[in-house]
């Protein structure tokens, strides 16, 4: 497992780097204030804003580990949000809405899983179908508007806080922990990695490959639904046109930054979450830099390029030394 720690260290050092950048942009970024029982501060913002991508990454990592990919998560977010909003606006209680949204997520995941497993479609096209149609379904529900709702219970999914932490953060972390346990405390992780690395060998060893495959897509759908709920609650409305738009790329990027190969095999929930946080860190930094928005994409590109260099096996040792110094600065 020492390999895992090495990986974790390089990700953590990246995160430290990003946080440092934030501190440079907005001094006092790291300080935490407790205002009426709720924590405020840059770190919290990153966790809070990063929650949806964290959730998507948690669902995406096992999918990618099976040599698959799920392009539909953004659309599923939109559907889930729309369903939730429509449900409360139809006068149902918010728990009903939440359940309805999660149910939709499951259904979407099941559809993907069936296309991949039974129809043997290539994951990228199988999920592309839902990526395109899904957003349409969401828009059909909202009729292209932003479906605003006033139900504070549902809005609470984003605005409420527990133990000083915003609910989205807790949801994301909980999801990560549950998923982590699900794959590591059971044999699921082993099976997923076996199926992803060598499907034929896994089958001959008696691994229930079809079940595993469907399972990971269903889980991904569920996570996407959660993310969709948070996104909708955040703006107290379901924006079918924009909710989760292109977020699938962020999720995949997070997982890959987390060290999972798109060719399947070894994966780590924890590292994928780190990947998501690194991404959000960059975003926040760029948004607050005060630089003209025309530069956003260029900055993003430069930062990721930096990440790639940092991670490339070529300059690992040098990095290790550098980080040691940086982390000291960062905390000082």
């Amino acid at each position: 497992m020492s390999g895992w720690f090495m990986e974790a260290r390089s990700r953590l050092s990246l995160l430290a780097l990003v946080l440092l950048a934030n501190v440079l942009v907005a001094p006092g970024f790291l300080e935490l204030r407790l205002v009426d029982g709720r924590l405020f501060g840059g770190i919290i913002d990153i966790l809070n804003r990063g929650a949806p991508v964290m959730l998507l990454a948690v669902g995406m990592a096992p999918v990618i580990a099976t040599r698959g990919i799920d392009l539909s998560v953004g659309a599923v977010m939109a559907i889930a949000g729309a369903v939730a909003a429509a449900t409360v606006n139809a006068g149902h209680a918010w728990p009903v809405a939440v359940i309805a949204a999660l149910g939709t997520g499951l259904a979407c995941g099941l559809w993907n899983g069936i296309l991949v497993t039974i129809f043997r479609m290539q994951p990228i096209v199988a999920t592309l179908i839902l990526m395109v149609a899904g957003r349409g379904i969401a828009q059909m529900i909202t009729e292209g508007r932003v479906l605003t709702f006033t139900d504070d219970g549902l809005a609470g999914v984003s605005s409420a806080s527990l133990l000083g932490l915003p609910l989205p953060v807790l949801i994301a972390l909980a999801a990560a922990i549950v998923t982590g346990l699900l794959v590591r405390a059971t044999a699921l992780g082993l099976f997923v990695e076996a199926v992803g690395t060598s499907p034929r060998a896994a089958r001959l060893a008696g691994v229930p490959a079809p079940g595993i495959l469907i399972g990971v897509y269903v889980w991904s759908g569920l996570m996407a639904a959660l993310a969709g709920l948070i996104a909708a609650a955040d703006i107290r409305g379901a924006d079918a046109n924009n909710a989760g738009l292109w977020l699938e790329l962020d999720a995949i990027l997070a997982v890959v930054i987390g060290g999972t190969s798109l060719y399947g095999g070894r994966f780590s929930i924890g590292l994928s979450v780190l990947g998501a946080l690194i991404l959000q860190g960059m975003r926040t930094c760029i948004l607050r830099s005060g630089l003209p928005p025309e530069l956003n994409l260029l900055l993003m590109a430069l930062v990721i390029a930096l990440v790639l260099v940092v991670q490339s096996p070529a300059c690992q040792p040098a990095i290790a030394r550098l980080t040691a110094r940086l982390t000291r600065k960062g905390t000082a």
Binding site: M1, A187, L190, E193, S198, R200, A201, A205, G206, P208
Partner: protein
């Protein structure tokens, strides 16, 4: 001849370290023009590593390589090939998605007006393959063929490319006697033409049949170089193992014991395009050997028996009850285990550790909820690593980093861990060194005596004759006989295998 010949290639003090292992430690090797040179050693002794260094597949850590007295530093296999040094690696490193012809000529395709001349490529490939007694369509994708054929294709490519030195890492592992004979004839021709051939194998008979000199490695160190003619078998084995072998008495035939109850009975099991219906019976505490030439369909019988291929005819009866196998899981539930022939594709899960590979089948049978505690997994892994003495620093090493033979052992361990009632083994001793070979056969006999039913496919007739109670003979993808009792002798088996049949073989797909 060989002793007077000039030194062609000489390697001095070659060294290579991997995390946790010094795979190669200051090894010298001298190849002379016109000589066939055996490179021997236990599994994990460092043979393949040495070859990787010679062809530039792995960087040289310390030491030097001289060709014709001039130092060469191969940076890549292409580089080495340019110097006339070509190798056939232990795992078949061909590309399944390309056609046979493309595989043979990749990197040196014949062209016309700058375009690849496919017609010519096929023609020449066909000619080349016919020299190996292969009459297959070179336009077919490589994946359509068995390990054996792919092995032959790899050799054909190398033979066609090599100018000075040809290196063969366990080429005969998956070949049968006919192919081996062809290969040896070619090796002799090449040697006679002034090339040097480096030949890795675990079959001592072949060593004595074809080689002039022997270099022995043990634990990554050079034990010594001898002339084959001047080195008795016993001494050779002692050099390799570092001790005298635990008497290879296993090749004496055992007294026939009274067989146990019938465990699995197969009635007219078959599948179109794959193998004609066959019938057999495996009793508890007995070994059913399966003999046949390449492509005779032995593997296919195993695939059907294990449910990996769905039969379209016949039935399987377990403990007297007819069963249908919808897939390997059904078979495993019945207590079957299957050690496949194609280690790389159907066997190991490369990224996963040795431990995970060993517990995989057992865990799959337990289901995903009841995960084996890590401690238990470690314990299992260590037990089998010891039992089969798999050469590795620890059980957490990715299995793909193990030497070929040790991977094979790990796979055997995977199934032993499930305590199967019927164990199907396709070429279980392929690529296993002499010492381990004896150990594994003793192990099989032990398992049998404990009442396990064994279905063993093997190309090594003496061996089959030694431990099998009965032998099913396959020919042209159909059952060609069942030898029992006193008939189970090498000669009888060989007769049964080779007697030509008049009926045409059933059509093959693809």
């Amino acid at each position: 001849m060989a002793d007077t010949a000039a030194t062609l290639l000489s390697a001095r003090g070659l060294t290579r370290t991997y995390p946790g292992v010094r795979a190669l430690d200051g090894v010298d090797l001298t190849l002379r023009a016109g000589e066939i040179h055996a490179l021997l050693g236990e599994n994990g002794a460092g043979k393949s590593t040495l070859i990787n260094l010679l062809t530039g597949a792995q960087p040289v850590e310390a030491g030097s390589i001289h060709l014709d007295g001039r130092e060469v530093r191969p940076r890549s296999p292409a580089d080495a090939a340019a110097n006339g040094i070509v190798a056939v690696y232990q795992e078949i490193t061909l590309l399944p998605n390309l056609s046979v012809a493309e595989n043979i000529y990749l990197g040196r395709e014949p062209t016309r007006f700058g375009l690849v001349d496919r017609a010519r490529m096929r023609r020449e490939a066909a000619v080349l393959l016919s020299r190996f007694g292969l009459s297959i369509d070179p336009a077919q994708p490589l994946s359509a063929f068995s390990t054996a054929v792919q092995q032959l294709i790899a050799i054909a490519r190398a033979v066609d490319m090599s100018a000075r030195v040809l290196i063969l890492d366990e080429p005969t592992a998956s070949l049968d006697s006919a192919e081996v004979a062809v290969l040896f004839r070619l090796m002799r021709e090449l040697a006679a033409s002034g090339m040097a051939v480096l030949f890795v194998t675990h079959f001592l008979d072949q060593v004595y049949e074809v080689t002039h000199r022997i270099t022995v490695l043990r634990g990554g160190k050079l034990v010594g170089e001898r002339k084959t003619a001047e080195l008795p078998r016993m001494d050779l084995v002692a050099m390799m193992l570092g001790k005298l072998p635990s008497g290879d008495s296993h090749l004496q035939r055992h007294a026939a014991r009274e067989p146990g109850a019938a465990f699995v009975t197969v009635k007219g099991l078959g599948k179109r395009h794959l193998v004609a219906p066959f019938s057999a019976e495996v009793r508890q505490g007995e070994v059913l050997g399966v003999a046949g030439l390449l492509g005779s369909g032995r593997t296919e019988t195993a695939l059907l028996l294990f449910g990996a291929e769905r039969a379209d005819a016949g039935e399987i009866i377990v403990d007297g009850a007819a069963v249908t196998l919808r897939g390997p899981r059904d078979a495993i539930r019945l207590g079957f285990g299957f050690c496949p022939e194609d280690r790389k594709l159907d066997g190991i899960v490369p990224d996963l550790s040795i431990r995970e590979n060993i517990v995989l089948a057992l865990q799959a049978r337990l289901g995903w909820v009841r995960r084996l505690p890590l401690a238990r997994q470690r314990e299992l892994a260590d037990t089998y690593i010891k039992l089969l003495n798999i050469r590795t620093p620890d059980a957490e090493k990715p299995i793909q980093l193990l030497s070929g033979g040790n991977q094979q052992k790990a796979l055997l361990a995977r199934w032993l861990a499930t305590k199967p009632r019927l164990l199907i083994l396709d070429e279980p001793t392929r690529g296993i060194d002499v010492g381990a070979h004896a150990e594994i056969i003793l192990l099989l006999e032990k398992l049998r005596d404990e009442g396990m039913a064994l279905y063993v496919i093997s190309s090594e007739v003496e061996e089959v004759a030694a431990y099998a109670d009965r032998v099913m003979v396959m020919r042209e993808r159909r059952q060609a006989g069942m030898l029992t009792g006193g008939d189970v002798t090498p000669s009888a088996i060989i007769d049964a295998i080779v007697t030509p049949v008049d009926m045409p073989p059933p059509g093959r797909a693809a």
